[in-house]
Structures are given as structure tokens and as C-alpha cells.
């Protein structure tokens, strides 16, 4: 039973990363009409920025949690201003190709300097150790990742669905020309949206650094799983992305316990099943 709970927890943690990343992809897709292939590379950058902050600047985990998403978010906004914005009006596939190229560049550069092996990042002192919950032993850091990710996801949902800014954002997704006519600076909003989505990815990177080590290719395989998550959940709803992300993480965790051989493939197999039964995805509108 202990092992089952442990795998469930791992599943919830992976689910947090799926949720944070697919949420960012959905937000970016809504505004920019681009599937951000560089999302995995930017997630990796988040982890590396935390590593640099600690080892070069002596800046601890808590500050990294705030600073890394901002730094990577600014990097993302520069990418948007210098490259992505020129793709407006072109076929979707060019956005995918451009961001794929960016991902190759970022990952290649980091691989050159850091190889493919992992760099350690220590769990902050306040979150070390564990709690005995009676039925299982809970490492505090892992519990923290799940709770904090969930909070960030819900905050993002609140920002987009319940605030004035979010209303502008949703309106600009539906009809950018009309929103511009009302005097709202849509291009700036697009840039900020890309920064927000990228910041969420970087945040996931910082959270994962103490668990998975900091590796140049940590985002490369993850992004493909997240794509499958996005196909399953559809990108039409923010809450849908969050729920699908966590649910698939849990299913993956359960698979690791009951049938470990399939744990790498279960998300893809589920994607196939969903496509066969409900081609538009669980929450998605027809695309």
C-alpha cells in the first residue's frame, strides 16, 4: 500500500507539471494562435535560472520561485517581440516550426555547456524532511509542490475568468480587431500573455529542480507528453486544462504501480482512446 501511495504522490507531482505547462500552452494558444514548442525548453530554463541564482548569486529557493519566472518571462517576451509577432496572419504551422527552432537552439546551447547529465539542486531547509500521515510517509517538499502548483493554477484561472484584465484577454482572444477599436493595446497584451504562459513554465521548472535535477533535456520529452495532455483535454477551457493535467498525472502514477512497463506510454494510449471516442477532446470545442 505504501508503494501505491508513493506512486500516487509522484503522479500528482507530474500532474502539477502537466497542469502548469498545458495551462500556459492553452493561454498562449488562445491569444497568439501558436502552439509553443519552446515551452519545454523554457521550463528547463526556469530550473537553470534557479540553479544559477543559487550557485552564482547565493539567492535562495524562495527568491528563485519569484525571480526565475520573471527572468524567463522577460526572455519569452523578447522572443515574442523579435520573432513570434511577425507570424501574425500566417498558417499555424509556422508558429510550431519557429518555436521548435527556438527549442533546438536553447536546448543545444545548454547541452554544450552542461552536457546531458543532471545538476543537483538542494531542497530548501524549511521544506526538508517528511510527515507521517499514518497511512504513508509524506516528504514535505513533494506535498508542497502539489499544493503550491494547485494554488498557482487556480490563481491563473481566477485571473483569466474572473478579473477585468482576464475579461479583456478573453475578448481579445475572440475578436482582437474589435477589442483594439475600444482602445486596448492588444499587441502589448499578446506580449504579456506570452510572458505569463512562459512564466508558468519556468515556475514549474523551479519546482521540479529539487526533485528531478537540473538537466538541459528535462523539458524535451515532457513537452511531448504535455502535447498529448492538451489533445486529450482540449485548449478551450482553463479549468479543463488544470483538471486534465492532474488527472493524467494520477493515472500515470497508478500505472507505474500496477503495470510499470506501460507508465511511459499510458498518456499516449489514453490520447488515442479519447480521439477514437470523442475526437474534439474532453473539454475542447471543435478546432
Amino acid at each position: 500500500m505504501q508503494a501505491l501511495y508513493a506512486q500516487l504522490l509522484v503522479g500528482l507531482i507530474n500532474g502539477s507539471f502537466y497542469a502548469l505547462l498545458s495551462l500556459g500552452l492553452a493561454v498562449i494558444f488562445g491569444m497568439l494562435n501558436i502552439i509553443n514548442f519552446a515551452h519545454g525548453a523554457l521550463y528547463m530554463m526556469g530550473a537553470f535560472v534557479a540553479y544559477f541564482l543559487l550557485n552564482l548569486g547565493g539567492i535562495n529557493y524562495w527568491w528563485a520561485l519569484l525571480l526565475a519566472p520573471i527572468i524567463v518571462g522577460i526572455f519569452g517576451m523578447i522572443l515574442e517581440r523579435t520573432m513570434l509577432q511577425w507570424l501574425t496572419g500566417l498558417d499555424h504551422l509556422y508558429g510550431l516550426l519557429l518555436t521548435f527552432g527556438i527549442a533546438l537552439i536553447v536546448q543545444g546551447v545548454f547541452q554544450n555547456y552542461f552536457g546531458s547529465s543532471g545538476l543537483p539542486y538542494a531542497i530548501p531547509d524549511q521544506l526538508r524532511g517528511g510527515m507521517n500521515l499514518g497511512f504513508m510517509f509524506l516528504p514535505i517538499y513533494r506535498g508542497w509542490v502539489v499544493v503550491f502548483s494547485l494554488a498557482v493554477c487556480l490563481a491563473t484561472w481566477f485571473l483569466i475568468e474572473k478579473t477585468q484584465l482576464g475579461a479583456y484577454l478573453r475578448a481579445a482572444t475572440e475578436n482582437p480587431t474589435l477589442v483594439r477599436a475600444f482602445g486596448i493595446n492588444v499587441p502589448r497584451m499578446i506580449t504579456l500573455t506570452y510572458g505569463l504562459g512562459v512564466g508558468l513554465a519556468a515556475l514549474a521548472g523551479v519546482l521540479s529542480a529539487p526533485i528531478n535535477q537540473v538537466r538541459p533535456l528535462m523539458g524535451a520529452d515532457l513537452i511531448i507528453v504535455v502535447f498529448a495532455v492538451v489533445v486529450i483535454g482540449g485548449m478551450g477551457s482553463i479549468m479543463g486544462s488544470i483538471i486534465t493535467g492532474f488527472a493524467l498525472g494520477v493515472i500515470e502514477g497508478l500505472t507505474k504501480y500496477f503495470y510499470p512497463e506501460a507508465s511511459n506510454t499510458v498518456v499516449f494510449v489514453l490520447m488515442v482512446l479519447v480521439l477514437l471516442v470523442k475526437p474534439t477532446g474532453l473539454t475542447g470545442r471543435a478546432a
Partner: protein, 322 residues
Amino acid sequence: MTTLTDDTLPVTPRAMRDEMIVFVVMALLLAAVPFTGVYPFFVMQALCFALLACAFNLLVGYGGLLSFGHAMFLGTAGYCSAHALKVWALPPELGILVGVAAAFVLSIVTGYISIRRQGIYFSMITLALSQLLYFIYLQAPFTHGEDGIQGIPQGRMFGVLDLSKPTVLYYVVLVGFLAGFLLIFRIINSPFGEVLKSIRENEQRAISLGYRTDQYKFLAFVLSGTLAGFAGALKVFVAQNASLTDVHWTMSGEVVLMTLVGGLGTIFGPVVGAFVIIAMQQYLAGFGQWVTVIQGVIFVVCVLTFRRGVIGEIAHYFRRSL
């Protein structure tokens, strides 16, 4: 929805004649390679990738469907051919047939699944499906995991052609490539190809004209996947191994890059692109991971400034379809 290529020229007898002339020149140049002292292994490798890129281009350039998982056909055909040659000790022609048949079956299954979604979702689905196959091949016993299938016997094709001789192998690969290329050329210029192009330009309108666009896209997917498998089966004889790199997503990305560099939706573009990228990898092999960075830079530069690709630019300049 904007279109991929801004100059769609009609298929006229004159355009067909121009393209045939370019084809004959290309075939003669390639046939002369063994007499020039160019390393034949390099050209054979490039020819296999050129065929793969042409097959990929059939889907993206003419059907408007960007597959990000074409490595799965290359790798699956490669593994199946390699297994047939080494373990079942089949002759080369049957080995190729086994690989192509495997890619055919795979493309029917994956096509049935992925064609259900449009645009960007289609790319993500094909990528996810190829990653699924990657993990299956990583764990399946017959692929030998990380080691791959090594030391594949080349054998005698039809009992007479000794494929272990580089020159013989070169001409067999060249004939295979030219046959595949001509088939794609024929498909593009057929009524089926015209309907495919109309779906790329405006799917709603094609539907309103009574075409069942899903069936056309599915057929294009199966043709493309099967031909990609043919390239994978040929590659087994050149490389004499079948490994996980052929199924990995980086390979799918390279195929996209080759086609993009040469020109999406051009007939000769993928061939040029494949030679450029393979040559680049050859010359820059000593630079390690910088090759990945350079490939990324080429992606970015092509998308931002050079969307027509090498052949697309030339064709645009001369107002010809090439």
C-alpha cells in the same frame, strides 16, 4: 487561414515538360556520381532522406497537414526490414517488402487516429503517436533497445545483384529513390493531387463542392507514410543497422527542416533540402551539440525570412512550378 504557398500555378503541359526536364537532369547527375569520386555512402544516405522528405512533403506541401511524427514510418520500416533480413534471413527484395508493408499498416492505423483533428492538433497527435512507438521500440525485445539491430546482411537482390558492392548498392538505392520520386510526382499531378491542393487552399469550399476531404487526407497520409517506410527500408541497406535514433522526434524534426529549407510544396525542394542538411551534418560532425543549435537557427531564419525555401525562391523568380 492563409495558404502555405502563395503561387499555386496550374498544371499545364508546359509546366509538366519543364519539370520532366529537371527530373532527367537530376537523374543523370545522380547516375554519374560513382564516376566522380564523391563518397557514395554520403549520397546514398542523402537519397534515402530525400525520399523521406519527398514523402513528407506530399502530406504537408500538398495536403497542408504538418506531420511531426514521420520518423515513426522510417523507423518502423527500418526495424521490420532489418528483422526480416537478419533473423528470418529473407532476400533483400522481400526484406524491403516487409518494411514497406509494416509502414503501410502503421500509416493506416495512425492515419485513422490523427486525421480526426485538424491543423495544429494534427501535428501534436502525430508527434505523440511517434513518441508512443518510440517507447514501445525501446522496450520491445526484437529491436534490442539501445543497441538497435546491428550488422544486417545486405545479401543479393533477386539473386544476382550483390548489394555488398558499393556501386551496385548505389544504383539499387538510386533506382528505388527515382521510382519513389516519380510516383510522388505522378500523384501530385493527378486529379487526386489537384483535389488535395484544393483542400490545402480552402477545405470548406472543397467540402461544399462535394469532396469527402477526410478520405482524400487519409489516402494522402497512407501514401506518404508508406513511401516514408520505403525510404526507411532502403536506408537499412545503406546504414546496415536500425536504431532508436530513426524513431526519435529529433528525426521527425530533421525531415521537417529538410523540406522547409528546400521549399514546402515544391517538387524538387525536399531533395535539395535533404542534401543540404545531410552535407551540413557531415561537415559539422566535429562540433557536437552546436549542430543542433545551427539546425535551430536555420529553422528560425527559414520561417522568418525564407518561407519559400531554396527551390521555392527559384521557382517564384522564374514563375515556374518546380
